[in-house]
Amino acid sequence: MKTYKLFIGGGFPRSESGRSYVVTSVAGTHLANAALASRKDVRDAVVAARAAVAGWSGTTAYNRGQVLYRVAEMLESRRDQFISQVRATEGGSAVAASSLVDAAIDRWVWYAGWTDKISQVYGNANPVAGPYFNLSSPEPTGIVGVIAPADSSLLGLVSVIAPAIAVGNTVIVLASDDRPLPAVTLAEVLATSDLPGGVVNVLTGHITETAPILAAHMDVNAIDLTGVADADLATSLEVAAAENLKRVIRPPADGVDWTVEPGVERMTALLETKTVWHPKGM
């Protein structure tokens, strides 16, 4: 039985704790083992994400778009594997699983096209009442901790990762506890897509153990609590995040239909607006 590893800094290490856990299909069969991430793994992932942020946010938007598009191509080349994995993980028919995988690929392509447009949509010049050049531009916030949706193991997963990195952030993703395998396969895709190491880090395990470390980590800039179903856990994570004033995406109030076009909010929530002034004069 295969034991899947973590994805940190572009490589696939085991958990430093040496632990792993059993991943079952929705029907109860033993699908594989996955690494059981520890607190130290989380901290190592943050180090990798920080090391990657200057390079990734410093690449041109065009370059980021090309890399994301490459990821979509690689997803498509492994379409059959994803379909069977999603089906085993979430249940449902082959048709339903195909539809989810295709939606995930399309979602990735959609975000690839946003990299060099979001600043045109979200930034602007400001007509100040004086002889000054004044421009507001969005910049990535830095490192984003993401707790991936518990149930939507590929489409939901892609929908929380792609917007964060499209705009230049690096991420540490805590995969769904019970449905981690598509995240592991996605990591393999990312590793072969020219995405620099450390831009996306994927940790499998129990979010009750890893999320608090991520939420309290002083070098993480934002946290996406989308996948936190337990209200008390979500509250305690938001409290921990307040220590260094992380930008927080709260869990959705109701269920999410991941097939609906997402809008720009998952990107703008992870962007900082910088406004630059300069006098004009002969």
Binding site: V121, Y122, N124, N126, P127, V128, A129, G130, Y132, N134, S136, T141, N221, A231, D232, A234, T235, S236, E238, V239, A241, A242, E243, N244, L245, R247, R250, A253, E265, T268, E272, T273, K274, T275, V276, W277, H278, P279
Partner: protein, 477 residues
């Protein structure tokens, strides 16, 4: 040869300060139910100005209830074009009463009349004018085709720009269709209370704007009130953090505008006289009571001696004194408490080994005053390089290379603003790119405009006030 200015006092006659003030709830002034009272004083003279009410919990309940009713029955369903008319009217009334507001602001806050008259109050009127125009155009703002307001906004503002901070909060909230309960700072309630009268003069429907005075406890009760949908806070990072924790697990939305320790970077090709004006403006404007103050000077080593000489010459000409004198450059420190905080940190600066130099000037006997001061020989580890002093105190550090300047500038948990002084255009743009700050002033400093978004990175807070971006905080997602 000295150049003496004769006193040029602005008259107080235009202002009519009452002996005591109640709370402004549901369109009228009303006494407290379960609160207390306290005194507001003039920080330049320590005279008592008025008795102010500190709202109690029943008062907070009433105010929030009034805002909720006004939101549901009147303001939240009013067409944007009609909301706009009220806001335009308020902008006009502020402009008409601008001298009265400026004098009152200087008396209550301690800032020079030249600043309140020429900077604060004009920006207040402009803010309402700008956001009035958005009220019926929200579908064009980039937040959806028909964005809705959030509901009731609780707003807590600081004492450094009392009426301007009120405008930054109330104008966008109302333009988007929200109603508000605002708590001005304990030491500077008077212009907010006069603004309440202006709301009455403008016939603003009752409950749309509620002003409840008080101190930290009133503010806490307000932001923790369960029927508040959105909180906007400007103040210290410590309190901002506490508010963020208190709303965890709720659906309340929050924007924060907190402290800063901005680096003002002067490169060796900067024109020295202009840079010195920018340094002085950066830290001594408003007595340094500015969250985005350029409180760390990072000067390139090769020109440091010349810049410091020019800076000291310029500082020696700063006029510290009566805020109502039109010649005054630097006014009073806002309170005894703030003065003692400034002293604690400047004492630490000397104790940690930095060298203090203060402008030689006479200080009045009464009131709270601090001489404009610079510290040289400062290291990044010193408290005066890391902690926000919020006074007319500049910490001077040097650097050799642009990369070093950027690293030092960004080496702070704050990220509100920064300054760049250089003649080289490509360097302005490259350095501006790398500074992790929400506002970057290049070859200028402390410039504000209602159209220009303002706010911080990292622990300086989140959200933006001003401009199109300033609408986002007041619209439902």
């Amino acid at each position: 040869m000295g150049f003496d200015y004769a006193p040029a006092p602005e008259s107080r006659a235009v202002v009519d300060i009452k002996g005591s003030y109640g709370l402004f709830i549901n369109g009228e002034f009303t006494p407290t139910i379960d609160g207390t009272t306290f005194k507001s004083i003039n920080p330049a003279t320590e005279e008592v100005l008025a008795e102010i009410t500190a709202a109690g919990s029943s008062d907070v309940d009433r105010a929030v209830a009034a805002a909720r009713t006004a939101y549901e029955t009147t303001w939240g369903r009013m067409p944007g074009a009609v909301r706009a008319k009220y806001l335009y009217r308020i902008a006009r009334l502020i402009a008409e009463r601008s001298r009265e507001l400026a004098v009152l602001e200087s008396i209550d806050n301690g800032k020079p009349i030249r600043e309140s008259r020429d900077v604060d109050i004009p920006l207040v009127s402009a803010h309402f004018f700008y956001y009035a125009g958005w009220a019926d155009k929200l579908g064009y703002a980039g937040f959806g085709a028909d964005p809705r307001p959030i509901g009731v906004a609780a707003q807590v503002i600081p004492w450094n720009f009392p009426l301007l901070m009120l405008a930054w909060k109330i104008a966008p909230a109302l333009a988007c269709g929200n109603t508000v309960v605002l708590k001005p700072a304990e030491t500077t309630p008077l212009t907010a209370l006069l603004f309440a009268e202006i709301c009455q003069q403008a016939d603003l429907p009752p409950g749309v704007v509620n002003i409840i005075t008080g101190a930290g406890e009133t503010g806490r009760m307000l932001v923790e009130h369960p029927d508040v949908d959105k909180i906007a806070f400007t103040g210290s990072t410590a309190v901002g953090r506490a508010i963020a924790k208190s709303i965890a697990g709720t659906r309340k939305r929050l924007t924060l505008e907190l402290g800063g320790k901005a680096a003002n970077i002067v490169f060796d090709d900067a024109p020295i006289d202009q840079a010195v004006e920018g340094i002085v403006n950066g830290i001594f404007f408003n007595q340094g009571h500015v969250c985005c103050a350029g409180s760390r000077l990072l000067v390139q080593e090769s020109i440091a001696p010349d810049v410091l000489d020019a800076l000291k010459r310029r500082m020696a000409l700063l006029r510290v004194g009566d805020p109502l004198d039109k010649n005054t450059d630097v006014g009073a420190i806002n309170s005894a408490e703030q003065l003692s905080r400034i002293r604690e940190l400047t004492d630490a600066g000397s104790a940690e080994g930095a060298d203090a130099w203060s402008a030689p000037c006479e200080l009045p006997d009464q009131g709270f005053w601090f001489r404009p001061t610079i510290f040289t020989g400062v290291s990044q580890a010193h408290r005066i390089a890391r902690e926000e002093i919020f006074g007319p105190v500049l910490s001077v550090l040097t650097f050799r290379t642009p990369a070093e300047a950027i690293e030092k500038a960004n080496n702070t948990p704050y990220g509100l603003s920064a300054g760049i002084w250089t003649d080289k255009g490509s360097r302005i743009l490259a350095v501006a790119d790398k500074l992790r700050a929400g506002v970057v002033w290049a070859n200028t400093f402390n410039k504000f405009d209602p159209t220009s978004p303002f706010g911080g990175y990292k622990e300086s807070g989140y959200g933006r006030e001003g401009g199109r971006h300033g609408l986002e905080a007041y619209l439902a997602h």
